[in-house]
Symmetry: D2
Subunit: 342 residues, 4 copies
């Protein structure tokens, strides 16, 4: 890192900072410009050490040279990672499409959607049993009953199941039913939850927070990996900006950025990212063209009776259209849709 001293700092202040850096185990290089003195510090950077240096007299700011993530970074592991989910592999040359309703509502609903998306070529089934909702008065999900229905749908269709876990105390319960544990956007920095899913070996679908930089998102992945679970799949789902024409601003730039910084697979959620079903197909095509490893899409047999997120759900026939179109784009990039479940 680089320690930039204030203009007019005294030699004693510079010396104290250099001494402190050496005490913390850094090798230091002094560079005195006409206007500013900067100190290069090489060594293992503990976050609290950095803040202590930053608080010293005469220090203007600290400039970081290296990214703070390690295990999630491409410098640690240059080859792209793949994450196995049952017989499916996320990442590599395969395009993974996860589809299903926002929330599990009933046996009939989840079985209908599961079959529809399986028949259209989806690779996994999504569906919420525990639902984070802005309002305490909204439908909060069927809880364990929902998990059981997801397991039933898996049994009937062969599709692995992705569902959200909202608190550390539920990780064991949800792991008992799910194939992939989803961490929602609002929980991206719920650190006790990240550590808890890190203690399992279940694949984790880690959604980007609404105000999270890509670096913070990779640090959230670092929590999971450093706790022992390397099976992290990132999911871009839109960030919050001033634009109100879409519910969120789906940030597809994150796809090439993540591919450059990290070895982890990344998929994209155009349903939450845009909030409107009519934008889902074009943005799904764009995500695949940008190099995403997959998609997660909301599909409902009857959006106008959905218990949540009807406005952004595709009807099954629209989902089949999506599958055809993204399949064609994937082929251009030398990727294949995962083979249909037997």
């Amino acid at each position: 890192m680089i320690v930039v001293m204030r203009k007019g700092t005294t030699p004693e202040e510079v010396q104290r900072v250099m001494d402190r850096l050496r005490e913390y185990g850094f090798a230091v290089h002094l560079s005195e410009g006409v206007e500013r003195t900067v100190i290069g510090a090489i060594g293992d950077k503990k976050p609290e050490r950095v803040q202590q240096i930053e608080a010293m007299d005469g220090v203007d700011k600290i400039v970081h040279i290296l990214h703070p993530f390690k295990l999630a970074g491409r410098e640690f592991k240059p080859e792209p990672s793949t994450v196995p989910v049952g017989s499916v592999t996320v990442g590599g040359q395969t395009l993974t499409v996860i589809a299903g309703p926002c929330a599990v509502e009933s046996e009939e609903q989840i079985l209908t959607v599961a079959k529809a998306v399986r028949d259209a070529g989806a690779t996994m089934l999504r569906g919420g049993a525990f639902k984070p909702r802005t309002s305490p008065y909204s439908f909060q999900g069927l809880a364990e009953e929902g998990l059981k229905l997801l397991a039933l749908a898996r049994e009937r269709t062969g599709l692995p199941v992705v569902t959200e876990v909202m608190q550390p105390g539920d990780v064991d319960l949800v792991s008992g039913y799910a194939d992939v544990l989803q961490i929602g956007a609002r929980n991206m920095q719920n650190f006790p939850l990240l550590r808890e899913v890190g203690r399992t070996r279940k694949p984790v679908l880690l959604k980007r927070g609404l105000a999270a930089t890509i670096e913070e998102w990779l640090m959230a992945a670092e929590y999971v990996i450093s706790a022992g679970n390397p099976n992290v799949i990132l999911c871009e789902r839109g960030i919050r900006t001033f634009e109100t024409a879409t519910r969120n601003t789906l940030d597809l730039n994150a796809v090439p950025v993540v591919k450059q910084l990290s070895h982890l697979p990344i998929i994209v959620d155009p349903s939450h990212g845009t909030g409107k079903w009519s934008y889902v197909i074009p943005m799904a095509r764009a995500a695949v063209a940008a190099g995403a490893d997959g998609l997660i899409v909301e599909v409902h047999p009857n959006p106008e009776e959905a218990a949540s997120d009807g406005a952004q759900s595709l009807k099954p026939e629209k989902f089949r259209e999506l599958m055809r179109e993204v399949g064609a784009i994937a082929a251009v990039l030398g990727r294949q849709l995962a083979p249909a479940v037997a």
Copy 2:
């Protein structure tokens, strides 16, 4: 709410929407303009009903007339609320100042700070025992040992103690030591945690999320209140914008907006809001001038040895300066600093 139909919608589509609204218990008014048909719907608005209507054929969008919060709203309770914390009252004509280190580090550190801020006139002591940190490699707090040290500092100084709780499973533990339970910005929409603190009667300091609208923040308060705990204190601590000169953008506009929409007291955190100690005093003055009910400020006897957030911590002498200046501003507005703890 207002249901706006698309241009060129058919009379049948309009009829179906009106029938559905009536079925859901709304009274409806049809208004046919030259370019658009809009339907006014009066009644109790369940969130899932709204989304179902929004997903119907012919519907362009739903426009909300009323705010979604109830118990947190000023229409529900026109008089400002106050929250009692031991012998202190937050809200009303009193200005509450909470001060202390970012994290509890040692007995000596917390006792030194506690006495210093008490002597300068602070009303409560803050200090983290469980610390949410962006990096898994950062100091994560002393946990229960930190809580015990906070209790010791309270015993020695008489100051009530504010500290963060990060997960539902810790609420009982933290409640055993703390006078106020802090919900951090990253947990503002950690709904299981909100419900759990809502089951206690402990005062809750609810920080605004980095990407949370004021409406969402009040909905988070609604979670706590609707679970049975009316003792919510809001805390503005900066939102995330494109500006990088400050760590966050402290949004003081939230003070008059909250005062207009809600009866809950609101305090301001200029330390996290700006991220730099030299901006803390002017923004503390501004917060009080905007009408805030109090402040929460980071103070450390030796910021350059702080285990976290040294760069934004005030030294005790600077904190005394802050107290003098905000006291003078409060007096102009007819407010008093809470009387010194005996």
Copy 3:
């Protein structure tokens, strides 16, 4: 529009608002809910009338039902527009690729790039003669000398020329050389400039402002069209968000949103949108997959000697790779690259 009255408003206040609306020529509908009174107002909405109503006693807020743009809107003209530029047509089934250096630097430079991009299949040549630069100490462009070099490059390659005009007083000068007048992002709401290019018939490439909503962008197009020039091409080039991994956040969601709201063609600038050449090709693919009518891309024969924006410029061989890849994606969507210039 809908006028929402405050809770507790008096019948007299409601009456005054209704009278005023009628006086302004609106038809009004009163709807009295349990908690709020709302007044529907149908008629031609003059912006200043709306603000006057909003300022009346008892009025809480105005809710707009219709978009404010007319001539730029799809309701005004349901069929997609195309914009002719010499023998090229922007929009429709053709994919337009505009390429060239950030700034015109010398005869050799612009001729080299022009030939390289023409040979790779580009449809038009871009290059700045007047450069808006954040710093007054940066290279500001060759001015008229640059325009002459662009005209020379057009003569040698047959490529139509796109270049920026920065002030009303330069519109005639630039129109004398350019085939398309570019309005830069920082000038999207430079209204005198918009009106001035609206008085010509030259095609206008209108970049989206860094903080502009899509609605405001279409209102800027409305300025040009209402002044008499229907030949507007929109250009998404990234918005400003909290994310710093990319220079801007290229907002591809704007592509399907614009296609739904407007008949105007829209192209995408992945060079400014991301700020880093290694992200340009994936985001160019994504833009085409999202349905964009074209691209504008920075290409420089020797980025490390470019007078500006070297870090985001593609070398000619990378540009050829881009052309191959976007051509393949376009084909999937049933679009063709414009035929090579003879």
Copy 4:
């Protein structure tokens, strides 16, 4: 500046970058860490040189140590600047309050407001003759007729006049009538306009752009100063964020940040910053408490008949209340309102 090389860069690449830096006149320091090589470069940094270095093979990124502004910076001129406007001085120990209507509408309107704000103690009169409006169909101002009415109001009240100039070609015209030339937020990076007002000696009120960082804002001031006009007054007027409860997010943090970085005076516009008259007084108090050198406030005798911005205008009696309250806050900080105009 610091040049950070990519991981795995070759010694030849490092050498080429160092050679190039020396060729451009920089003194260089090489620092080879375990993971990265960084090169410190000391010297005069031309913006285009930086971009060329950034585009070289092996370069990961450039880190800037110094701010890019010079003449606007406190390192160039450590003492705060004051700007004389007739007999008034902006900056220093005086609090300047500029007040008046959004737009000049008629002789009666502007004279009524001018007298009202003068009698309440305002220091200058504001009023728009050329109005930048989002819609081409909105009232665009009275143009020169409006300027004449402002001059008449000055004659009658003695108040200096602040009004906006929108294009370079109007600078002479507006300078003939106005005492302060206002550059609107949407024109903050209208560089030809900045240069043109820089060629006069008229005081310039430079509003911050909606998406402008503080650094870019100071660079806009640098354009004016470097063209020869040192009389720049900065004006914070709100930035664009995701929050919709206020029209913009008034960023009061900018006050202490600007005070630290620059010697220029800074005033605050709580009317545009919040967009709602009921938030104007608390935010005006907060601005003064944060250390602002003044305020600019919209006042209209009859907001519900204003040609623009009625919803954010104060009635004269509310403005008198504002003057009383900010005067009391200013006194706490040792500042005085400018003496009343004779």
